[in-house]
Symmetry: D2
Subunit: 481 residues, 4 copies
């Protein structure tokens, strides 16, 4: 019974009781809050496609841990095929939900932990790896959703964690007890934290000796005592809340700030504690996996953007404008280069000592730099194709108003045979795809800042080999200036 | 008494009684509606700066028509200096309001009409030019704000106006009477229509013989009978309505669809009627003027974006990150190339037969193509500099909540000495500058579609001279292949 | 004895006697002509690496046709692994020779022919496939190099082949005889035609009924009677000819126009004749393969460009300039996205009915569009890093001059410990990598024009699926507007 | 008699006797050396247009110094009109010669000196300004061409001038005598040094106390004793030397390294000596002027590139390919934004204490950053439009060869009615415009490195004002964080 249906997933969330604030008010029933629900629906698609005849084979695999069929989102890759499947399920999902489905971050944490804890244990004789694998078994058996908690709020960026006036700027251990540890801090941009059963916490950066208290990794239920989810603002957030003008009629994204206000974590959920030199490995593995996830996901979102732009051409009657066709191609090729680079990062992956496969980090980071630069251009092109109503389309409520509704429908009529309502909805979708901040800004900052991706690619590339190649061509000794 | 104070301007709007819908409901008092008011405040800045000791000289000039000091927004340029001032007042204003101030479109219509009606009269012996100048005198004397009504809703784009199944897709004359005409249709993207006293309507495209009914230009009070303003949605529209999380605390933009449901226009306000061959001249003059306005305005918005990014660096404590400095430069140089090109379009302007000066259309259109491509890149860079909270910052209401407010302020503390509140407000401003749709999408579609600007630059450039220059260099006869 | 050493390869070229002109003069001994030799050396590297202990495993495979080890350049892929190896050998080679090695085009023709002739035979009962496989066996057994002849000179582009005033603008059959056919026409941009033993000719475009004479594919020795190679000009061509200031000391590229002046082709070398509807399939398969080859090759060239830029930083003493590091990253990530997309095109390949594997054409074309846009940017960045001497460095002969040589060396001294000679040679390499036309312009036009790649990606993408996805998200019926 | 004809100019160069090396050999008669002559012809165009009825008014002005008509190239601007004329003469010239005309650098030095020496004199009571103005009078009276010597060879870039192991890496004073000074060093990239009568030398960078010996500015005849011009290599340099396949049939560019091997400069030609704090002012004024010159010049070159591309469309018969039209527009708008920004830098100039007008440095530097990024893109687009023969077109000598000439002409025939010769020559011109290194690389490095332009724009922009504007919008105090 490893696999949950989408409905079972949603019901399972009802049994949680997280502490949630939105716009200054407590939210009691997250499943019924329409904004959070739109996010839950997106995560729900990961369950739905695992049941879907066409997609089940892609989404479900047999677990070597529990020997049952499981959803790949709880499956650390054991082969190249597994790595490739990561990208493909993300593209399929993003094409289906048109936004972030929010379940990849937990997977990416489990993948990173399954690699790094093995290495930590090798060095220190600790038992982290067993704990992690046990946790993953639990996730698999119950088909749960995990959420990554990586990005600390960071306080003053010019200071290291321990130099901060308020050390809570980086989540850290404040007490070690017999039964577990107490942690305090806050993690920002926690996409889908309320669509998740478990939060999986990693350090956010490289750490040095004497910063042991910050070198902590663990998992904790999303409704554990002391955890407060503050669902912040995104650009179109009131649309779901008010139930109209949503653009994407079923799905959306939200990303709370999650505060850990003296939260207890039992020892069997602690996956790292004080091994500072492994912090950078953990966060960079996570980031590399997550950048690869993005490659699939954003390619799928670009598919929706291409689709929206093509429909707008049909609905506006602009099929004969050649320059619009060129713009479609300009979006298309960006989606494929992104997808291709991310796939290649999978195909060129390697097995780590723990048995988990790791993607090629240079290719994964290259795809993310590409994403950060090209998604904005793709959105610009889609807006250009669609037209100015992306900015100021009358509301559904105007269309429903008996006095002006008919007038507006009349004036928003486009190509013959296309109902005004359809054209209007497509404009609304374009608005959502281009102007929704929670999803759009992850193109730039998701999986760490662009600067981090850039440093990674520089560090991971074999620069000496390139220098030698050039020296050889120039006819000078390869090994010295 | 030609000049109104900002307060007098706002009071003058109270005396109007336009028909307005927003989100399906009638809006009775536009001045008190916080969303529309944020737009009115932005237009109000055009009055405020005309009183401001530092800026008065730039904003106020002596009218050759009424021989009194007037606001330049009602002044068709009579010199190169006047053309240049157009760009500079727009940059100054945009830097002050951080968004569209909404008063340039009316000015751009008056400029275009003052040129083209003269030429129409020359050909046909009509009296349009006198009417236009009389209208401008009226605008000057009362320091009124005009609004451009150019963009028709256009229906099926593959069809010409008269081929449309519903001819109302292009605003047209449905009846000529002794005292005036009756018009029907709708104009989209009417930025600031409710911040304006008068709507000034032009055709939206080139017209051909037998399309006389669409070749109509006129002015009409914004609250005339039959005019319905439908204020559509923009991405952050509920922020002003709810009065928190506004980012730009005072100013915003809105752009209604304005329906003309059998509106009567008296003859003295009719500025063109049936002279189809001049329609393209009118719209392309307007567009060229408006593209030049954009050059100043968007440079000023980029100033705010640079400022916001610089503050974020201070507030985050990232002054030592060299790559952020490079990104600041990347925004800066874009603002200056845009501004420079727009200024050059002014300095290289020429006097038209009517006496009004016209800008250099190639340079004006080049600046707009540049804008359409580079503003999105600038926004991306600003987001990159600022960080991920642009996407999901907790709400002001969370900060005000006694339970979680202190926690959130604690966790949003950045650099030493910077109050969390300031950092939060600056993130909010970045969100507004990057993700507000009404203003952002005008970077692409404002003043007509990018494709239109591109065709204009191709048409207005002397391609033959360039071909000859190349032939001469290549050593082949200049005058034949 | 299937594999030739590099020396045997070069010797084998001496036994050919092609008709060659360069700069208006007959070239008798192509192997000893230093310009052509630099190209031959580059192709020679494909033989050299097949002997190289580190690379042999990558370059050599067992032929299922002749059951001997062969060079992969004569091996139509029989597996995904084979497709992947195509990209990797190209990157390895380009990193070694820093330019085009010229042997991939023949391979790409053989690959395309091995797929399409099978399909032609299926339809028409012809025997082309056997002939092609026999030809490939011959190439494998003798480890020969093939060269693609695809791009016709095309005459007036506004006319189809048969509408041309001079039908020879497209290579075509002028006579069918008992023993074979006579063809006439010319193929442009025949990279490495004189480094090759055999020319493999395909149609250049889609053909229609009544254009049967142009639907011709065949192979012919590069020195067959009637074939004239005219080695044109490239930007640095005299450097090799004069033997100094070469930049790349060993390797270069040349690309003759090859005229077929009534050339006889025996029937066993005719691979298509008149099956017009397959012409487009043949050329688009070839192009897709070739675009994928480019992905590996240009990534390898970018490796050399990164290496040259890094050396220039060392040699100039500019290690502390952070912005230069950013520029290195900007080249690096471009090389990896290109490589990644090309690899993905391989990994996502599929087997065709003939047994040959075909790459994913969408990904292959996406990589080529990316290449066309980004290689120029990479060159710009490399020049920026290197400095102005790329434009006007004194000549080797100046350095050798006893009067001014010492002075120039003194003034070209850079960082401490770096001999001036090395810095000078590295500047020269940068010049070669950035300003050599034959190689650089293939970034744009290689494998067909950018417009062709763009149309291919549009045609091969499933646009309907994307439209449906968007409709579903927008909440409108998936199957109608 | 202030103005020379072009012939008089060329004759005047014959009377000079500079020490020149090219490719390791002494060049005795520079005027008859075809490569240098092509550069001299380009400079000659500055004389030719001053006689040309259509252009004389633009090029000639009345000198306030000698009260005679002079060529603007010896005229430090005394008004905004003069600043604007600088840009326009450069665009006109570049459109005429299709490359660098080489006379602007001397003008830019005279402009900078006329400003800065005045300020030095104010501080130190020196007499530099009088000497400079006397020198300018001399230049004007004899209508001479001056050449800027700014860029030192710089040695190890990580070291300051005085830290260099060999101080000659920066030109400096090695002896002060009663009658003058002795200088030693070398200046790189001395575009047109042999087309000039006088070399005008400025320091290349900011200098500090104890670096007095490097703070030297002066003028010296280009054939003075001890001056050695080493004409280096550019990518197409042998074309002019061999007299065929030139592309640009009359004009070209060369840029020697000029060595100052203990050169004597009399006191009346010394314009700065030891006033270290003014070095940065001198070089940055020069650079700003020169960046503005580029704006005009490169816009004119882009005109030729547009023209060449348009002709290629005609000659290939590709008028119906819409995407080519889009590419033309993409070049066009780049030329106009560059021109516009450069014009604006002029129109927004200001008078300096010395009376000379200085351009707006922010706008001038913005135009150069834009140039550095967009020229490469324009070249790419032109190549895309033209087609692959840019890389490998047969030589003129092939066309002249009786055996293959007719065949090649046959196969290079394009659109009906266009002689093959014309199409061939236009391809050759495209090659020259895109692949000639001396001119192309100045797009990036001309007037100082891109990094220098970027730092200038950052330093010269009022960042505090922008920060305040953003603070005000965000609703936080303007004057503190």
């Amino acid at each position: 019974m490893a696999l949950k249906t989408k409905n079972e997933y949603i019901e399972s969330l009802r049994s949680l009781n997280p502490t949630v604030y939105m716009f200054g008010k407590r939210v009691k029933d997250v499943v019924e809050n329409p904004r959070i629900r739109a996010g839950i629906e997106a995560t729900g698609a990961t369950y739905e496609l695992a049941e879907h005849p066409e997609h089940r084979n892609l989404f479900v695999t047999l677990s070597p841990l529990i020997h049952e069929p499981i959803n790949r989102f709880n499956h650390p890759p054991r082969s190249i095929e597994d790595l490739v499947a990561r990208v493909k399920i993300n593209r399929t999902l993003a094409r289906m939900v048109g936004t972030c489905h929010q379940r990849c971050t937990g997977m990416d944490c489990m993948c990173a932990l399954s690699i790094v804890t093995f290495n930590v244990d090798q060095k220190y004789g600790t038992k982290y790896h067993d704990r992690v694998m046990e946790f993953i078994r639990y996730m698999q058996k119950n088909d749960l959703t995990g959420n990554a908690g990586v990005t600390d709020v960071k306080g003053d960026r010019s200071l290291s964690p321990k130099e901060q006036p308020d050390k809570d700027a980086y989540l850290h251990v404040v007490e070690k007890r017999d039964d577990g540890i107490i942690v305090r801090g806050a993690k920002a941009h926690q996409t889908g934290s309320l669509s998740s059963h478990e939060l999986i916490i990693l350090p956010t950066r490289a750490l040095r000796k004497s910063e042991e208290e910050f070198a902590v990794a663990f998992a904790i239920p999303s409704d554990a005592k002391g955890i407060i989810h503050v669902v912040g603002r995104s650009s179109l957030d009131t649309r779901e809340l008010e139930g109209y003008d949503c653009g994407n009629v079923n799905y959306s994204k939200y990303a709370p700030t999650v505060i850990f206000d003296n939260v207890f974590v039992p020892w069997d959920r602690v996956f790292m504690l004080g091994e500072v030199e492994f912090a950078v490995d953990l966060v960079s593995r996570f980031s590399a996996f997550h950048r690869q996830s993005h490659g699939g996901c954003k390619a799928g979102k670009l598919d929706c953007m291409v689709g929206a732009a093509l429909n707008m051409i049909d609905f506006n009657g602009t099929q004969n404008a050649n320059h619009l066709k060129e713009k479609i191609i300009d979006i298309l090729y960006r989606s494929e280069t992104l997808y291709g680079c991310s796939l290649a990062a999978s195909y060129e992956g390697k097995q780590e000592p723990s048995g988990t496969y790791f993607i090629n980090p240079v290719l994964a980071n290259a795809s993310k730099i590409h994403e950060g630069k090209e998604m904005a251009e793709a959105a610009r092109l889609m807006i250009d194709v669609a037209g100015g109503f992306v900015a100021d389309l009358p509301s559904d409520r105007d269309f429903d108003n008996p006095e002006i509704g008919p007038l507006i429908k009349k004036y928003l009529k486009g190509a013959a045979g296309v109902p005004s309502e359809h054209r209007i909805k497509m404009f609304r979708l374009v608005e959502k795809l281009a102007m929704e901040s929670a999803d759009t800004i992850s193109d730039i900052h998701g999986g760490g800042s662009p600067a981090a991706h850039r440093m990674t690619i520089l560090r991971e590339s074999d620069l000496e080999a390139r220098k030698k190649a050039a020296r050889r061509l120039a006819g000078i000794p390869e090994d010295k200036p």
